[in-house]
C-alpha cells in the first residue's frame, strides 16, 4: 500500500492506461466485494473508505501539490472516478467536496480558504454538502430567499435549504444566499458562503425518499453566524460561481454509471439462462453497450474541454441529458426483458439492484439540473451567464 500511495501521487508522467491499471489494482486489493453494493449517484457515505482513498492519493487529483493535491488533469480525475463508480465504491462522503467544492475554492477562494480546506478534502476527511435548492427555489435558483446580512465580524444567515445530500453526515455546507434584494437582474445579489454544519442555529432533518433512502436533507439556518472569511468568492457573484460549479457537476461518469450494476447483472442473468441466452436479450445488451460507449466519449470530451481551460456549460448539459436518458432507458429495457415481478426481499442480488433502480431512476433526470432546464440551456446555446439551476444534490 505504501508503494501505491507514492505511485499515484506522481501523475505528471502517468498515462491513462497506467493510471487505470493502478486504480483497478488498488480497488481489487482494498475494496472487498461485499462493500461494492452501491447504486445511484454518489453511492454510500463511508468516511472510512474516503480516508483510505485520500491516504492512497486518489482524491484531489486536479488540486495543485502545494495544497496537498496531485496536480493532475480533469481527464485523470475522470478516469479514477469512473473506475471507482464502475467498482460500486462508496464514494458519497467526499464526493461533492472533491468534485465541485475543491475546484471552486481553488478558482475563487482566498489563500486562507485554500489552505484551510483543500488539504483536508484531499485527505478524504472534510465533507461538503451543497445548499442550492429551497422550498420555493427548485429549478429557478434566482428565487433563492435564504438571506445573509452583515453583522460584526461576518454574516448572519437565515433560510431553508432542501434536497441537500448527506447534510446529516457532512461537515460544511456551500450555500447560495441572497446578500442584496432581488432587483432588475434577478441573478445579481447572490453570494456563496461556506457554513460549518455544526454551527449554532443549523438544524438538519433527513428526508426519507420512496426508495427508503435518507440521502436528502432539509437544512434550516436560523440566524447562523458565518465569519467574514467564509464568504466564497466575491459578494454578489454567487450566481456565476454556482453556474461554473454546475458545469462540473453535470458531465461526469456518475451520470451514466448509476445503474451500471443493472447492466452487468442483466448480462450475467442472460449468460446464465439455462435455455441459452435469449436473442432479444443479446441484441438489447449489444445495443445498450454501444450507446454507453458513445455516451462515455461525450462525457470524457467534456473533461478534455475543462483541461483546455473552458467552462463547458452547454457541453455538460448535453452530456447529462443524454446520459441520464440512457440510464432510464437501461432500467426499463432490463426490467422488460428480465420479466420478474420485482419486490422485497428480492430473489437475488441482480433483482435487488433492479428493484432499487426502478425506485431511484426518476431522480436521474431531476438532480443536478432537470432535463427541462438543461434543454433550455442547450437550445439557447449560451454558456455564459446561463448556468441555470439544479438540485443541490450531486
Amino acid at each position: 500500500m505504501v508503494t501505491v500511495s507514492q505511485d499515484s501521487r506522481d501523475l505528471a508522467n502517468t498515462s491513462a492506461d497506467d493510471l487505470r491499471v493502478r486504480i483497478r489494482a488498488w480497488l481489487n486489493r482494498e475494496l472487498p466485494l461485499d462493500r461494492r453494493t452501491c447504486l445511484g449517484m454518489a453511492g454510500g457515505h463511508d468516511a472510512y473508505f474516503s480516508r483510505q482513498l485520500g491516504e492512497a492519493g486518489w482524491l484531489g487529483i486536479s488540486v495543485p501539490p502545494k495544497y496537498g493535491g496531485h496536480g493532475g488533469t480533469a481527464v485523470q480525475r475522470f478516469i479514477v472516478t469512473e473506475e471507482l463508480l464502475a467498482a460500486q465504491a462508496p464514494v458519497g462522503a467526499h464526493w461533492l467536496a472533491d468534485r465541485q467544492v475543491a475546484p471552486s475554492i481553488l478558482a475563487v477562494g482566498t489563500e486562507e480558504q485554500r489552505r484551510a480546506f483543500l488539504p483536508h478534502i484531499v485527505r478524504g476527511e472534510c465533507y461538503f454538502s451543497i445548499g442550492l435548492s429551497e422550498p420555493d427555489a427548485g429549478s429557478d435558483l434566482s428565487a433563492v430567499r435564504t438571506k445573509a446580512r452583515r453583522t460584526d465580524g461576518g454574516w448572519r444567515v437565515s433560510g431553508t435549504k432542501i434536497w441537500t445530500t448527506f447534510a446529516q453526515h457532512n461537515h460544511h455546507l456551500l450555500t447560495l444566499c441572497r446578500t442584496s434584494p432581488r432587483g432588475d437582474n434577478r441573478h445579481d445579489g447572490l453570494s456563496q458562503f461556506i457554513i460549518d454544519l455544526r454551527s449554532e442555529g443549523v438544524h438538519v432533518r433527513p428526508i426519507r425518499t420512496m426508495d427508503g433512502a435518507e440521502e436528502f436533507c432539509e437544512v434550516i439556518l436560523d440566524e447562523v453566524f458565518v465569519p467574514e472569511n467564509r464568504l466564497l468568492g466575491r459578494e454578489g457573484d454567487g450566481w456565476r460561481q454556482a453556474g461554473a460549479e454546475l458545469a462540473l457537476e453535470r458531465y461526469g461518469p456518475e451520470r451514466w454509471l448509476s445503474v451500471w450494476a443493472c447492466l452487468t447483472g442483466f448480462l450475467s442473468h442472460t449468460a446464465d439462462d439455462k435455455s441459452g441466452p435469449h436473442p432479444s436479450a443479446i441484441a438489447e445488451l449489444g445495443r445498450l453497450a454501444a450507446k454507453y460507449r458513445v455516451v462515455r466519449h461525450i462525457s470524457l470530451n467534456v473533461a478534455r474541454s475543462i483541461d483546455r481551460g473552458h467552462t463547458p456549460t452547454v457541453e455538460s448539459a448535453i452530456a447529462k441529458d443524454l446520459a441520464t436518458a440512457l440510464e432510464q432507458e437501461t432500467v426499463e429495457v432490463v426490467r422488460r426483458l428480465c420479466g420478474s415481478e420485482l419486490g422485497f426481499p428480492a430473489a437475488n442480488a441482480f433483482e435487488s439492484v433492479l428493484a432499487r433502480a426502478v425506485l431511484t431512476s426518476p431522480t436521474f433526470t431531476i438532480r443536478g439540473g432537470t432535463t427541462e432546464v438543461l434543454r433550455g440551456l442547450v437550445a439557447r446555446g449560451d454558456g455564459g451567464v446561463a448556468a441555470s439551476a439544479g438540485k443541490s444534490t450531486g
Binding site: 498515462s15 491513462a16 492506461d17 487505470r20 488533469t73 481527464v75 485523470q76 478516469i79 469512473e82 464502475a86 451500471w260 447492466l263 452487468t264 447483472g265 448480462l267 450475467s268 442472460t270 449468460a271 441466452p277 436473442p279 436479450a281 443479446i282 441484441a283 438489447e284 445488451l285 449489444g286 445495443r287 453497450a289 454501444a290 450507446k291 454507453y292 460507449r293 458513445v294 455516451v295 462515455r296 466519449h297 461525450i298 470524457l300 470530451n301 452547454v314 457541453e315 448535453i318 441529458d321 443524454l322 427541462e372 438543461l374 434543454r375 433550455g376 440551456l377 442547450v378 437550445a379 446555446g381
Partner: protein, 355 residues
Amino acid sequence: MTPLRSATALAVAEVLTRSADSTLHDQGAISRQWRSFVGAGWPWAAVSEMRGGGGGSVDDAADILREVGRAGAAVPAGETDLLGEWLLRQADLPSPAELLAVAPGTSLDDLRIQGHGDAAILTGTAHRVPWASASERFVALVTDGTINHVVSVALGRLTIVAQKSLAGEARDSVTATGIRLAHDEVRAVPSMEALDFRARGAASRVLLIQGAVDAIVDLVDSYCTTRTQFGRRLRDFQVVVHQLALLREHRAMVGAAAGLAVDVLNDIGSWEEAAAAKIAAGEIATYVAKTAHQLHGAIGVSEEYALHRLTQRLWAWRDEYGGEHEWGTRLGTVLVARGAEALWPWMTRSPMDEL
C-alpha cells in the same frame, strides 16, 4: 457547435454546393455533382501516391465523407479509397485508376469462387452494390467455401441490374455467370474476416450520417428561426425549444460515434467499435429524421425543399452495412460470451482514451 472543418472539407463542400441542385430527381444536377467530385480525384483521396492515388490520410477521406453527407450528394465517397482499395491492398492486388464498386456482403449474396489458380471461376450475385452501374471495376470479398478471396473484375464482364436505395442512389445487383478470373483478378486472403470489412463499411456510413445530421440540425435551426405561426417564431415555443435541444444533443452524440468510426478506418479500432458507432448512428439517424420532418411540417416532404434529400439518405445509410439489430446481436453475442467482468474493460478500451 459545428466542429471546425479542414481545408479538404471546405474544398469538397464548395464544389458540391456549386454543382448542386436542390432536387433529388434532377438527373442533370446529380451528374454535375458526380463529374465534379470524380474529376477532382476525391474517390481516390486516401489511396497512396505509390498506388496512384491522392496520397491523403484516412482523416481526409473521413472529412470528404462528412461533406458528402452534409451536402446529401449522390457521389461515390469512400467506396474506392476506404473500402475497395483497402481490400485490394490487403490482398496485394494492383490498384487500377478506376472507380471501384464494392460489394457490402449482404446475407442474400451467393457470390462464390469455384476452382483454384488459373481455373478460378466467379459465379453468383452480390446485392446492394453502391454505384455499380456508374463505376468501372467490381471489388468483393468472396469465399471459395474454405477461405476468403478478394476479387477485382471489370464491371463490363458482369451483369448489372439497377436498383436504388430509399434515397434514389444506385445500389445495384451484380451477377457473375461463370467468369474465369485471371491471376491479377483474385487473391486468397486467408486471415481476413468478412466481418472486419463489413465493419469498415459500417464506419463509412457513420461518417455520412454525421454529415447529414449536421446539415439537418442547421436546416431545422434556421427554419424554426424564420418560420412564424400564431404570431411567434417556431423557436419561441417551449415545445419546439426541447426538440431543438434534443437535435443538438444528437448531433453531439453522432460526433462521438464518428470518432469511433474514424478509429476503425484508421485500423486502430476493431469491428466492435464500428458496431458501437453504427448502432448509435442508426438510432440517431432515426430520431433526427423524424424530428426534423415534424418541425418542418408539410414543406419538409416537398421535392423543392432540401430536407428530404438528407432524411432519405439517413434512412438508407442507417441500414447499409448493417442496421442496429444486426450489429447489436453481433456485439451482444460476444459481450455475453465474455461475461459481466469483461464489460467494463470493453467500455474503456478505446484508443480515444489517450490523454
